[in-house]
Structures are given as C-alpha cells and as structure tokens.
C-alpha cells in the first residue's frame, strides 16, 4: 500500500526524528555541512536511520535537508548536489528495505527570493529541481519539503518536484512562530494561508515541523485540521534548544512527549514524527502512543 492509501484508510504513520542532532553527537562539527557526511561517513548516516527504524518509524528521511545547490554552495559543495542527494536516497532505501517509506528531505535554500533577496523564481525552481532529480533517481518514495518559512519558496519547490516527477507524493511542511495574533511564519503567512497555497500547488500532505516544542505543535495541528482536508504531518522538535557549557540541550524528554503525542493522535494527525533534538527514544514514545490508539 502506498503512503496516501494508508493515510486514506486512517492509519497513523510514525516518522523519524532529528538527523542533524544525531550526527552532531557522532562527530559532525559546527561549520560542516551535515550532508557532506553522506560522502565522508555514510555508515554513520546509515546507523542513525537504522536506529530510527528500530525505534518504530514507518517513514525515514534522507540526510539531505540542506541538499539543494544554493544551500550546498555555502559549503562549496554545489557541484556535489547530484551525488549527495543520490547517495542520501540510496542509503535510506537500503535501510528501509521493503518495510519503511523513504522520504527525501528538502529544506529551505537559505536565500530570499526577489524582491526581498536576489534569487529569481526561475533560479529557485532550478535549485530544487536539481535536488529532487537526484533524490528521485536515488529511489525516494515521497518528498518532504520541510521547515519552510516562505510559502512562496515552498510552492516553487512543489512545482519543481512536479516537473521532475508528476506523480511524486509531496509532503509540504512549514515552520510557524506563535505571535499575539496567532501562528505565523517569519514571513507573515498564517496556517490557513499556508495550507491553502500548498494544497493549491499540489501538496498531497501538509503540516508543520520544527518550531517551539510539542505543546505549540498540538495547537498548530488543531489549526491545520480545521482548514484542510488533506492528511496532516506534524514533526515537533524537543523544545527550544538551550546552549550550556556542555553544548546541546533540548528541554523536552521522551516522557514529556507522551501526553502531547496522544493529543496529536486524538486530533487525527496522519503522520507524527520528530524534528531537532528528538532521539530514537522520542520516536519510540510516538510509536507506542500510535499503537495504543489502534487498540
């Protein structure tokens, strides 16, 4: 059964957690491109995906969040776009075997489109096309366009993906901040506007990832459910990270996730996963809560 068929049947799927956070614990250093690890340390990336699979994830994301050429150019790696995305897809494909769904991760370009920045719409479309082409060739099942803050950039990415493969299943996920006027992206788009624009452009599944902890994600999920009939994806981070002398620290433990994941299940969210700071232990909790709902 395909992802969309499973969603239609009312199955709740579990997605994986944070790839970047896990890689930072396994040797990735600040200032390095997390995607470069695909070429230098493929085994490490494979290991992280395997851990998420074992924790109960139905959907595994590729380590290609910053894999569009505009983003890779920040590390002088734009010319490796094809290789990085192809290898990224291959590795997860191997881990997934016949059981898990392979989702190509596609994050923001890091650039503003005209008139706020220098990138034209055509350049942005080409940027995402180059990434998606390699991901598709590497064997992804679906594409996750995620952590988008500019709904225009997200829609251009959707268009680019459709040009590469018209029947590719597309998940489009944005990041919202809570303001006194409700949830908005930093560019000023609210949830209703975002859902409408993404759906209109051809997203099959819409939702939100990253943000500011799972409690706010429950509110975001509720808002999405009230404005769209598409399946909704929610991938929360483990709270706002805090710098300490030891480095990383995310405040929300797997235990803290429990009741809020139950709330997401209750709201009818179709795909629940993690973002920054979530570990296999968080994903295990999501798996348990989702399974409990089946009983």
């Amino acid at each position: 059964m395909t992802l969309l068929e499973r969603c239609r049947k009312g199955e709740i799927l579990v997605a994986d957690g944070a790839m970047g956070t896990m890689l930072f614990e396994r040797g990735l250093r600040p200032g390095m491109s997390p995607e470069s690890f695909l070429l230098s340390h493929p085994e490490t990336v494979r290991e992280v995906s395997r851990e998420f699979l074992e924790a109960g994830a139905d959907i595994l994301h590729t380590n290609t969040f910053g894999g569009s050429p505009l983003k890779l150019a920040e590390f002088g790696l734009a010319d490796k776009t094809g290789e990085i995305n192809w290898v990224g897809a291959k590795i997860v494909r191997e881990v997934a075997g016949g059981s898990a769904i392979v989702a190509g991760s596609c994050g923001p370009s890091g650039q503003f489109m005209e008139p706020y920045g220098d990138i034209s719409q055509a350049e942005m479309r080409d940027n995402f096309k180059r990434q998606v082409e390699a991901l598709v060739e590497g064997g992804i099942d679906v594409l996750t366009i995620e952590t988008m803050m500019d709904v225009r950039e997200a829609t251009v990415a959707i268009q680019a993906a459709k040009e590469v493969a018209a029947d590719l299943v597309i998940i489009a996920s944005m990041t919202f901040d809570e303001t006194s006027r409700g949830f908005y992206t930093v560019m000023g788009t609210n949830i209703e506007e975002a859902a409408e624009a993404l759906e209109e452009t051809g997203a099959d599944i819409v939702g939100s990832n990253c943000g500011d902890g799972i409690e706010k994600m429950v509110k975001i999920a509720k808002a999405f459910r009230s404005v769209t009939s598409l399946p909704v994806l929610i991938q929360s981070n483990a709270g706002k990270p805090e710098a300490g002398s030891g480095g990383l620290s995310y405040p929300e433990s797997p235990g803290f996730f429990t009741e809020h994941v139950a709330a997401l299940v209750e709201l009818g969210v179709a795909i629940i996963g993690g973002c920054c700071g979530t570990t296999p232990a968080h994903i295990h909790v999501i798996r348990e809560m989702v399974d409990r709902a089946k009983l």
Binding site: F24, P30, F112, V186, E242, S249
Partner: protein
C-alpha cells in the same frame, strides 16, 4: 518638517525610490543631513522595529524598509563624514564561528543602523579572534554575537575570554543572542548582555551605549 515625515512614511512603506527622491530634495533645500537621519530615516525605522516586535508586520516588510533606509543612508552618510557629532555608538556584529545562519544577525544589523548606530558587520562564521581584533581596531563600543546552533554558541565564550586576556573587558562590551542563547547562558559565560530578539537588541544596545556617558 514635512519632508522628514514623508521620508519616514515612505521608508515604512518600503518605498526605496521615494525615500531616495525625498532625501535628495531635503538635502537640496539645505536640511542638515543629521536631521534627515534622525527625524526621517531613524524615525521611520523606529516605527518599523516596533511594528515588527508587535507582529503587525513581518520579515518582508522589514527587509523592504531596510532597503529604503539604506537608499537614504547612502546619500546622507557621506555628507556627515568629519562632522564632529558623537555617534550613537559603534558595534561589531557577526555570527559565531561554525554558524552559517544569519537572518537574525542581519535583522539586528538593520535595526541598529536604523537606530543611528555604526555597524561593522563581519558576516557569518566569524572566528573569535576576528571579533576582538576588529572591535579593537575600529574602536567599537560593543561586540554583538549571534548563534543559531546549540553547538556553536560556546564559541561566544572564546570571544569573552579573549577580551579578558587583552584587558579589553569593560571597554568593549558584549551582547549575545540567537535561538539557543538564554540570559542564563549569557550570565554563565560572562557576556554583558543578552537580547531575546532584534527589537530587544536595539533597546539593550541603546541603554548600554547611553550608559557610557
């Protein structure tokens, strides 16, 4: 003065062309550059900053307003060189080494320029040494550092240690910000100040500089 109010309004709309035209007009009719800066450009950015803090406007409006502000600044600044007026303060700004995220830092830069400060922007991925050397050679009042990643935030400590080593602590003060940074962290590493967001950064920096006497 009516033209200054118009400059401020055009800036708030992000109307680069009108800000440029009106600034030229004002200069032609002998309005002192300092007044154009303070009561036109800075006044306009002040409104933009407040609206952004209140979520009445978002990043696109701020970026367009900033563009309009720079159009005015480019005309006014050269005429102010050599003017013996105390600057509103000078800050060296950058994202710490290893961190390539700079939207937040850029916003702070825009807002501080909009508050009439001199900003030396070192960009992203800035090593500790460069912060300190630039601040010393530029005779800056402050170093402003930003980090988005939890893994890069500790680099801020190096800058503060370097300032201490070179007896510059107190003379060049530090303000830090970014997603993983908290006031607790600022206190722990000995930073002089912390700001939650760009709007707050401007408030804090203004206080720090005016407290200098």
């Amino acid at each position: 003065m009516e033209v200054l109010a118009k400059i401020s309004e055009a800036l708030q709309r992000g109307d680069e062309k009108t800000v440029s035209t009106l600034t030229k007009q004002a200069l032609d009719s002998q309005v002192p550059p300092r007044e154009i800066l303070d009561n036109g450009l800075v006044a306009g950015m002040d409104v933009v900053g407040r609206q952004f803090a209140e979520h009445a406007i978002f990043l696109p409006e701020v970026l367009m307003a900033a563009r309009a502000m720079y159009a005015g600044l480019d005309l006014v600044k050269p005429l102010m060189e050599g003017e013996d007026i105390p600057s509103a303060g000078k800050i060296v700004l950058g994202t710490v080494q290893g961190d390539l995220h700079d939207i937040g830092k850029n916003l702070v830069g825009i807002m501080l320029r909009g508050a009439g400060m001199e900003v030396v922007d070192l960009g992203k991925d800035v090593p500790a040494e460069r912060f300190v050397e630039t601040a010393a050679s530029e005779d800056a009042d402050l170093i402003g550092m930003s980090a988005l990643l939890t893994t890069t935030a500790p680099v801020m400590q190096e800058v503060i240690d370097l300032l201490r080593e070179r007896n510059l602590q107190g003379k060049i003060r530090t303000i830090i910000g970014g997603a993983p940074v908290t006031d607790r962290f600022a206190e722990k590493i000995g930073a002089d100040a912390y700001a939650f967001d760009a709007a707050r950064a401007v408030e804090v920096v203004k206080q720090m500089v005016s407290g200098d006497q």
